[in-house]
């Protein structure tokens, strides 16, 4: 199948017009030695029908969250995506556009992003945001790049920060010249970062990787007293009920934005959220949309503060990001519009209540206990099982449950369970029953 609309006759006419005799001539500047002799080592082209059937068959070899009741979290959550979100975000005027370089032709994307930035500021109680980053992990990398300056190069990371985020930080740190240092928690939360004058940032995830509520304001106060930036990794669907980063004293807040109306999709496309205080706006990475007026004085939107960005600042840019996750940000905007302040609070309230109920039900099973008893948690919690978690998960998939994810750093018997508003009491009871069977 091909999408180029050329007919043979047109190809001939066009070649004629440019004075060439064959398509090969177009490639005459390629030195013969590096030309490919034969065809690429790929099958011949296929029809749409064949590709659809191929991928339908492959997709059928996955067991999706439609099939397995999903209690997996760890940054990606099975919150409900209402139909309206993608009915709108998937409109082709959005989805088939490029970056809004011609603002007069791109007011739809630009205004949506302005609304997105506004909503992220509202969620975080911080003052500035951008048009999205790749995902939560790379957003944290960008936040660290914002924070590191002059002699302050060290990066302190709470033990409660997700291992995947830490790994990502470590990777990028090799280029930028830092090695994130983990400070231990006590009983699953808190800890004491030693914030010396060489520390650029203190990173706290709240709720943390185990779902536990951190003493975030204390940690951030310590960071700021030591002159470092306080960076919070937050859950965007927690801040309807939990105090937002800005109020807790965070200077920069970052998050994985998937749960805002984006599908699980095996890990992406998701989006990274970032927000900061107004004074840091020129250190913010990525695109930023601003409101302005046109020559008639009518309001409109443009990409602004571009002098920060790679295409202008080049090797002096604070970030190399170009393509971001705009369409996911538009979906998030529509989703947050669907929720409003009340719906946002309701999702948080229901997720928390259901997680609490699930923890209670599951810990009634013999041999199952909370990893950190007494620590307050939001929508995720860690359990100690009488069996290796990976094995339990595997066995429970046979019964129709995706019971959670393993949490090997705390022991191979630790299972991390996430519960969203989407789960029902019946499903939670079902999981408890199935788990009981598996362990009996």
């Amino acid at each position: 199948m091909k999408f180029a609309p050329h007919t043979e006759a047109e190809v001939a006419e066009m070649l004629d017009a440019i004075g060439l005799s064959s398509l090969d001539d177009l490639f005459d500047r390629i030195p013969p030695a590096v030309r490919l002799d034969g065809p690429l080592d790929l099958p011949a082209g296929a029809s749409e029908l064949e590709i659809v059937e191929d991928l339908r068959a492959l997709s059928g070899r996955n067991r999706s969250a439609d099939e397995l009741v999903c209690f997996a979290g760890g940054g990606a959550y099975d919150h409900y995506v209402p139909s309206v979100v993608w009915a709108l975000a998937a409109r082709s005027e959005f989805s088939t556009a490029y970056t809004p370089y011609q603002p007069e032709l791109s007011q739809g994307v630009l205004q949506s992003l302005f609304e997105f930035q506004s909503m992220i500021c509202e969620l975080t109680a911080l003052e500035v945001s951008n048009a999205s980053l790749y995902d939560g992990a790379t957003a944290l990398v960008e936040a660290v790049n914002m924070a590191r300056a002059g002699d302050r190069g060290r990066v302190l990371v709470s033990e409660g920060v997700d291992a995947r985020l830490l790994e990502t930080l470590r990777t990028y740190g090799k280029g930028s010249g830092y090695e994130p240092e983990v400070f231990p928690a006590e009983g699953g939360r808190g800890g004491a970062p030693g914030v010396g004058s060489d520390v650029a940032a203190v990173i706290v995830q709240h709720p943390n990787v185990l779902g536990i509520l951190e003493p975030a304001s204390d940690l951030f106060a310590a960071a700021r007293e030591g002159g470092a930036k306080a960076i919070q990794v937050f859950d965007p669907l927690s801040v309807g009920v939990l105090a937002p980063p800005g109020e807790l004293g965070a200077d920069i807040a970052v998050a994985e934005g998937q749960s805002l109306g984006n599908h699980l999709a095996f890990g992406g496309p998701y989006l990274g959220l970032i927000a900061a205080r107004a004074g840091d706006v020129r250190r913010l990475p990525g695109r930023i949309v601003g409101e302005t007026v046109d020559v008639d004085g009518e309001p409109g939107y443009v990409l602004t503060l571009q002098a920060r960005e790679q295409h202008i600042r080049r090797e002096k840019a604070n970030s190399n990001i170009c393509t971001n996750q705009t369409l996911m940000a538009i979906a998030a905007t529509i989703y947050l519009g669907w929720l409003g302040p009340e719906g946002l609070a309701e999702v948080g309230r229901q997720s928390a209540a259901k997680a609490s109920y699930a923890a209670q039900r599951l810990t009634e099973l013999p041999g199952v206990s909370l990893l950190h008893r007494g620590a307050p948690f939001f929508k995720e919690f860690a359990l100690r099982l009488p069996r290796p978690a990976a094995e339990a998960i595997e066995r429970l998939t046979e019964r129709g449950y995706l019971a959670g994810i393993p949490f090997p750093s705390a022991g191979e018997d630790v299972l991390l369970v996430a519960v969203t508003e989407r789960r029902t009491r019946e499903q939670i009871d079902g999981l408890a029953e199935a788990m009981g069977e598996v362990f009996s």
Partner: protein, 491 residues
Amino acid sequence: MTDVGAPIRRQGPGRDGTILDRSVEGRRAWSLPALDVPEAPVAAEHARTAAPRLPEVGEVDLVRHYTDLAQRNYGLDTGMYPLGSCTMKYNPKVAETVAAFPGFQRLHPLQPTSTTQGVLEVLWRLEHALCAITGMARATLQPPAGACGEMTGLLLMRAFHEDRGDPRRRVIIPDSAHGTNPASVRLAGYEAVPVRSDTRGLVDVGALAKLVDGSVAGLMLTNPNTLGLFEEEIEEITGTIHEAGGLVYYDGANLNAILGRCRPGDMGFDIVHINTHKTFATPHGGGGPGAGPVGVKEELVPYLPVPIVERGEDGRYDLEHERPRSIGRMHGFHGNVGILVRAYAYVFLHGADGLKEVSELAALNANYLASLIGEEFPLAYPESRPMHEFVATAKPLRGSTGVRAMDVAKRVIDLGFHPSTVYFPLVVEEAMMVEPTETESKTTLEAFAEALRTAARDAREHPELLREAPVTTPVRRLDEARAARALKLRW
């Protein structure tokens, strides 16, 4: 009829305000089942007190607001979108069909691999297809965009040299390189060293040779380069770097120009990134998402990010995390998988024959269009034959009329088209960088050329039409200086 018949629609006044302006206290769109378990309220010390100012609107408000915004946006489905370097080709609808299968769309990234064999096979097959296309040994599909692919590649380069106990300091990039290249070099801890282009628009090989020494970790190159020209001395270039112990990185933004004709691997490149949103027509969503897989030659395979998909003897797929020399993780999960599924569809729809045709017709279109507008907008580098895109210049027109490339672009909007990239690459004055792509028909190319020629004629006869343009759009020219001065970045 008062309208002059511009094919671009004037889509309403754009003065209806933001979604927050539609907010009415107590209105709502959301619905959720009633809570069916006991409440577990958040302790007061942790609780939010002031609600965020999110809109309170009905579902119908949401729908009309974003439908209206969508209609105020130009996309590929609206018309030709010839942004140079961006490869805005038709995005096949079938890709949307397959990406929406629940077996892909509703899959958690941390499910046990026993429940994700299908998607792992997709990733594995795609990786190997990309290797076949680029001449690489293995690839990572994690990077969510080209710039992240660059960063990945540079960290691989770094790991490679460090592993050999030979850390190096500098990475060479052409002066015409895309901004992400130098930015990535800096973020990877290297110093960016520019090498100049010669009068043909190609890397000045002599100048390059002078820059190369044992401190050079590598070279980053786009080929065809950002001027749309094939680096004819590519063997010499990669040879020079290799001799000095460096590695050569291929910025795949222009890979679409050479599909099935030659492979970066065969030209001597060691690392390659691919922009699926360019080469393989995955929808760019008004700025993203993309995907930026990175392929490498055998000697770099050990350093690839974790996890990577492996296929066992028994045909089972697994996610391999234990790779001691790996640079680590570039993304929180597995990258933009939903986009990779679309890229898979594109690659296997086209196959070996189809991909070759892609590059052929992309080049044919670019050369044909260049010839149609050459009289008014000559090529910046007339000596070299453009490949899939070309850089023309409005310098002569500016000289004779004072009108600038941006004015031409805005007039082209009123004439019904999205204009080309302007003022990039920076090395060309009044640059107009045009990439028609292979999915535009001869008919459309001719209509676009006619629009450009009309704009040039108008520049001479009715220059006010250019200076005042656009007038057919929801807003007219916007005050960018004011936007940056009186920052208004949120409601």
